[in-house]
């Protein structure tokens, strides 16, 4: 059991180690998207995008569904985001913003000091 979940974690980390694949997850978080559209958005060949989606699919982060000739990608069953911890991720977003805002305020304070 432990081995199994470790292997899944490894697969997730490997899947997330690539900037394009992270971008694909962010995109799918906004809307389901076909592989063709994903390839277009990330300026990449269809074959290249299929490889990325394959890695994400294996990690359970993405699932795909073929309707007619179109293969649509959606976030998978192992979404990093659980409904229960949305508030924590929302908090993290604001915390990250505010840490930058600290720097801006520090700069403004320094500027005022110099003028005085």
């Amino acid at each position: 059991m432990v081995k199994h979940s470790e292997a899944r974690l490894d697969a997730s980390f490997a899947a997330l180690a690539d900037v394009t694949r992270r971008g694909v997850l962010v995109q799918l978080g906004r809307a389901d998207t076909s592989i063709t559209d994903l390839a277009g958005k990330f300026d990449m060949t269809l074959a290249g995008m299929m490889k990325h989606v394959g890695v994400l699919e294996q990690a359970g982060l993405v699932r795909t569904e073929k309707v007619g000739r179109v293969r649509t990608c959606k976030l998978g069953p192992r979404q990093l985001q659980e409904a229960t911890n949305w508030i924590e991720s929302f908090r993290q977003l604001w915390a990250a913003r505010f840490d930058e805002l600290d720097n801006v305020i520090e700069d403004l304070k320094q500027k005022e000091k110099r003028i005085k």
Binding site: F13, G23, L93, A95, R97, F98, N103, K109
Partner: protein, 157 residues
């Protein structure tokens, strides 16, 4: 040492974010209303996006518009109108990009002993609207989480 950020779902229709800043309220307010300052902090460094347009007419009835680039052909826009503007203490604006379901946001800046308590209060038109924002907003924190994971990955390599 970073100050803590608190988030609370205060009621079925309300979300509240609070944070203390080590500076006077007028400077925190300035960083919220001047585009050249706002641009420097709104998008966290770890987010895979850039703010390409930042227009703010911070007067009662004035509008704001932010455009984000995710590296693809499509951009994302958020926009709305300022309902109340009290320099150094209070800012109220609408969030209109999602249509009727968008919240009205009230930011208050309370100064005490050289520090400022910032409270951001989102009031949604209905429970359903907030639930839907949560469902889609759950992804808004995703970049941070991914970044942490990739950092962890990097430190293990």
């Amino acid at each position: 040492m970073k100050n803590d950020t608190h988030v609370e779902r205060k009621s079925e229709r309300e979300l509240v974010v609070t944070r203390i800043f080590n500076g006077p309220a007028r400077l925190v307010f300035e960083a919220w209303t001047k585009p050249e300052l706002f641009k420097r902090w709104w998008v966290p460094k770890s987010a895979p996006m850039k703010m390409v347009t930042c227009e703010m007419d911070a007067r009662v009835g004035g509008r704001y518009r932010l455009v984000f680039d995710f590296g693809g052909p499509k951009t994302m826009e958020v926009f709305g109108k300022y309902l109340e503007v009290v320099p150094g203490s209070r800012l109220v604006w609408t969030n209109e990009e999602a249509g009727e379901g968008g919240p009205v946001t009230t930011a208050t800046f309370e100064e005490k002993g050289g520090q400022t308590l910032l409270t951001i209060h989102d009031l949604y038109p209905s429970k359903k609207a907030l639930d839907e924002a949560v469902a889609s907003g759950a992804t808004s924190g995703l970049p941070e989480q991914l970044e942490q994971l990739s950092e962890l990955l990097g430190s293990q390599a």
